[in-house]
């Protein structure tokens, strides 16, 4: 019984790290993604080219590789080794997810009809006012299903942190297999399921709230 309690305690601790990676990534990647979107939609060609290349590289290579690069590259190339492995993981996650979010945002922004911008313009609104008061909310509504998909993927991706030795839940659980205990490893699935279940409900609630209008 103490073994059981020990295992549960360790798993919870491990999942705490998954939650930290999840929330930090979300908190930073959501706004950073918007910055990248503005870059990749810019009329200034070099900036647009740079942003789109960046997105191509980030989306085109494995997140696992990116974590390694962030952890080791500063030490090898700049003689500035990263002390904290968790920081490396966070940086890689934020960059990776910002790139994905930026493409979702771009799709949403480009789906808004030109007429909305023109209506704002003839009503004397500034570009910023048109974006924040007219367009943004409609974009949020349209991208919600794609965002919920991406956010749920993020929850599961947090387990990738183990490859650089960040003791997230699956890494913690795997240690028990060496003691002949296999159930902790399998039970980690429940943590993810419950967490994603809550997220699914939350996104369903938000989508429902945004459904007060069509268009």
């Amino acid at each position: 019984m103490t073994m059981f309690n020990d295992a549960i305690g360790v798993l919870f601790e491990g999942f705490g790290l998954n939650c930290i990676i999840f929330s930090c990534t979300l908190l930073l990647a959501l706004p950073l993604g918007l910055v990248i979107t503005f870059g990749s939609m810019s009329k200034f060609a070099p900036l647009k080219w740079l942003s789109r290349t960046f997105v191509w590289i980030i989306r085109g290579t494995p997140l696992m590789l990116q974590i390694f690069v962030v952890l080791y590259a500063p030490g090898l190339l700049l003689d500035f080794p990263l002390k904290s492995r968790l920081t490396a993981v966070l940086v890689a996650f934020v960059i990776n997810y910002a790139a994905y979010f930026s493409e979702i945002y771009r799709g949403g922004i480009e789906s808004i009809s030109k007429g909305q911008y023109e209506a704002g313009q003839v009503l004397g609104m500034t570009k910023a006012q048109i974006f924040f008061k007219v367009v943004l909310f409609q974009v949020v509504k349209r991208i919600m299903p794609a965002m919920s998909n991406e956010v749920i993927t993020l929850v599961k991706d947090t387990s990738l942190a183990r490859i650089v030795g960040v003791a997230e839940i699956i890494m913690c659980a795997e240690r028990f297999t060496k003691q002949g205990l296999i159930w902790p490893l399998f039970s980690t699935g429940i943590y993810f399921l419950v967490f994603n279940g809550i997220l699914t409900l939350l996104f369903g609630y938000i989508e429902n709230k945004l459904n007060y209008y069509r268009g």
């Binding site: 009809s113 003839v122 209008y213 268009g215």
Partner: protein, 261 residues
Amino acid sequence: MNILEVKNLHKSFDSNEVLKGVSFNMRQGEVLSVLGSSGSGKTTLLRCITSLEKANKGKIFVDGEIVFDADETKPKKPFDERKKQLNFGLVFQSFNLFPQYNVLENVELAPKLLAKERQDFKKNKQEILNEITINAKAILDRIGLTDKLYNYPCELSGGQQQRVSIARALALNPKVLFFDEPTSALDPELTGEILRVIRSLASKKITMVIVTHEIDFARNVSDRVIFMSDGVIIEEGKPQDVIDNPENERTRLFLKRLSDK
């Protein structure tokens, strides 16, 4: 003095010259209808005057003051650009209401954003905002939408949506109000309510330019009619003259085709 003077407006999209030198004047309170077949440049003319497109050549004056000069190379400050924009209101063919806002919010949004730039906004915030709401409600009342203030655009008929967009334009008190085929996106039985609203605005001496295919309506409501073809004005005058006794062959053909429909 003329409230609006358009001088020699040219506009090309790539090699396609859509406006080939359009000039006209308007007096305060005048209602001008712009007729012509599709592709004749009517909508482009409206879009150039309201700065949605930049004309390649020409000048535009409001109250004798120049608001657009294609030869002016120095880019205007965004603030001046917007001030200029506020001379004109535009009602779109496809309404372009903001779907996430209710009727009242659609009408109030722009005036409220604009009021923030007033120097006394901080001091009299509540008063100013109340005033805007009262004004918006009054306009919507005049246009017969008092019972729809808190409905969303998706809950309204096309005719009601177009009336909201007229109210939205009126709330900023434009010097000239432009209509770009305001009834073209509507079912035939809904066009009447829009035409009635425009007629009531005409009786209040609001200066209007209406691009329309409703010949009978144009004859009824306008003080003057312009007929456009291939990017130029080919006939201009009183509605009785242009519509009932056109001099130009192309005007005659166009009117005949419309009446054959």
